[in-house]
């Protein structure tokens, strides 16, 4: 009985000690980033259990530009803003669209990523330059996505609906359809992987801006982040990370 109690007490102390380490990230030189890592290719956990994705690499480059170390904390999407405001992490980088509603509870940095519907075509295509050129063409989309809705609402587009966006891209490479319309974060990686077969049409059909979210009061960090972001865009550090995930 005494031994059992001793073991329990040791566990108790160990738990409390780990609580101190887990809870208090008071180290000023670590940028603690909250993310809901279930959204490939923007942020996800790879099969080795490590954080991966465009946002992850972007956050690392941002921290480097700020001369800070970076640490990621996974969060459930529904609880991500409450966690930020409870001080579980310093900022959110998690494909978060800047909206009026969210600005009531957090501050946003300048946009760091523009998400939206993009047209991709075969490398030799010359007659599709924008959305008007889709009329009369065979356009592949993923069933039930924004791209599907967008193309279905346009008159005169021959919409081909696929279960997987990868199937649509495959049919595009095989020459069975003329274009694919999809979220840029979803379909640009296919372009990056097949630069000899595919290219993206310049411009987005719809635009949402992703921003870095910070707690309302933290204007000092907000300024530092906006400064570092502008620096990354000027130095080409941002383009390097972008090209790595979405092609040039």
């Amino acid at each position: 009985m005494k031994k059992i109690i001793a073991v329990i007490l040791v566990l108790l102390v160990a738990t409390l000690a780990s609580g101190c380490i887990g809870g208090g990230d008071n180290d000023d030189n670590v940028l603690v980033v909250g993310t809901d890592a279930t959204y490939p290719p923007m942020e996800y956990i790879n099969d080795q259990g490590a954080f991966e994705g465009f946002d992850i690499d972007f956050a690392r480059a941002l921290a480097e530009a700020m001369g800070m170390d970076v640490k990621f904390i996974n969060s459930d999407w529904a609880g991500i803003i409450p966690s930020l405001n409870a001080g579980k992490f310093d900022i959110i980088i998690s494909s978060m669209t800047i909206t009026e509603a969210r600005m009531e509870s957090v501050n946003f940095s300048d946009p760091y990523f523009y998400a939206g519907q993009v047209i991709i075509v075969g490398i030799e295509n010359t007659d599709i330059d924008g959305e008007d050129d889709l009329v009369g063409k065979k356009v592949g989309v993923q069933l039930g996505t924004t791209g599907d809705t967008y193309c279905t609402e346009m008159d005169g587009v021959d919409v081909r609906r696929y279960n997987k966006i990868g199937d649509a891209v495959m049919d595009l490479i095989n020459g069975n359809i003329d274009a694919v319309v999809s979220d840029n974060s979803v379909c640009l990686p296919f372009v990056a992987d097949n630069p000899d077969d595919l290219k993206a049409v310049e411009g987005l059909l719809t635009v949402e801006s992703y921003g870095i979210a910070l707690p309302k009061g933290d204007t000092e960090l907000l300024e530092k982040i906006n400064e570092a972001l502008a620096g990354m865009q000027a130095s080409g550090a941002y383009d390097d990370v972008f090209a790595q995930w979405f092609g040039g």
Partner: protein, 220 residues
């Protein structure tokens, strides 16, 4: 890519799910240990005749058993920072599971203590033992043996309940399965794997509990 069962995918993700199962076991073992400690103290207070002990103990059990564990987990992680207590994910999960388990274990201890016949206490007193000595040397050793199967069942229940802490993004077994789902867009395979691994943990334990119950019956 099919949305159905993919044996190849299950083989690929098994190491990842096992890492999650390890976290589940860690969470459960630490929480059961702390919960048992809490339950012992609260359970002894529950059967005390002193109002100052049994009223708070009864209140604790009432509140913790009367609110959903999911709500408790969220209060500890998202709510407590509001009063200046900001715990990380694992400590929050362990605290919520331990406090919750403690309430159930307290009831188990209460039942165990009451299962010992009153005559034994009277005998202890007539030997000149104090209340504390009687508890410690006579009642509790017998009570603990009697409640071992019930504690085993509590352990099994907590293995399953620990899946609720996935809501604060602790990467235990269920959350691991959902992470695989988000990456592969196949829900059926990882969730079947998750269910299978929960069974691998609970079935052997329920065998142990059944064995303890049998042995206890024979000894009686």
């Amino acid at each position: 890519m099919s949305l159905g069962f993919r044996p190849d995918l299950l083989v690929d993700i098994l190491p990842e799910l096992l890492r999650g199962a390890r976290i589940t076991l860690e969470l459960t073992i630490i929480s059961v240990a702390l919960g048992t400690l809490i339950g012992l103290v609260v359970g002894v207070c529950r059967v005390s005749h002193l109002k100052i002990l049994n009223v708070p103990a009864a209140l604790y059990v009432e509140v913790l058993r009367g609110t959903p564990l999911l709500v408790q987990v969220m209060i500890v992680y998202y709510g407590l920072p509001g009063v200046g207590i900001n715990l990380g994910q694992m400590p929050s999960g362990i605290l919520a599971l331990s406090l919750n388990s403690g309430a159930y274990v307290a009831e188990i201890f209460k039942a165990g203590i009451k299962s010992i016949k009153k005559g034994q206490t009277e005998a202890s007193f007539s030997l000149g033992m104090t209340y504390g000595q009687n508890m410690r040397y006579v009642i509790l050793p017998q009570a603990v043996r009697n409640i071992l199967p019930a504690l085993g069942n509590e352990f099994i229940a907590l293995i399953k309940d620990s899946s609720l802490v996935s809501v604060i993004a602790i990467e235990e077994l269920l959350r691991r399965g959902m992470i695989v789902y988000s990456r592969t867009y196949n829900a059926w395979t990882p969730l079947l794997g998750v269910a299978m691994l929960y069974l691998c943990m609970t079935v052997p334990l329920s065998r142990v509990v059944a064995y303890l119950e049998r042995r206890w019956e024979i000894n009686d």
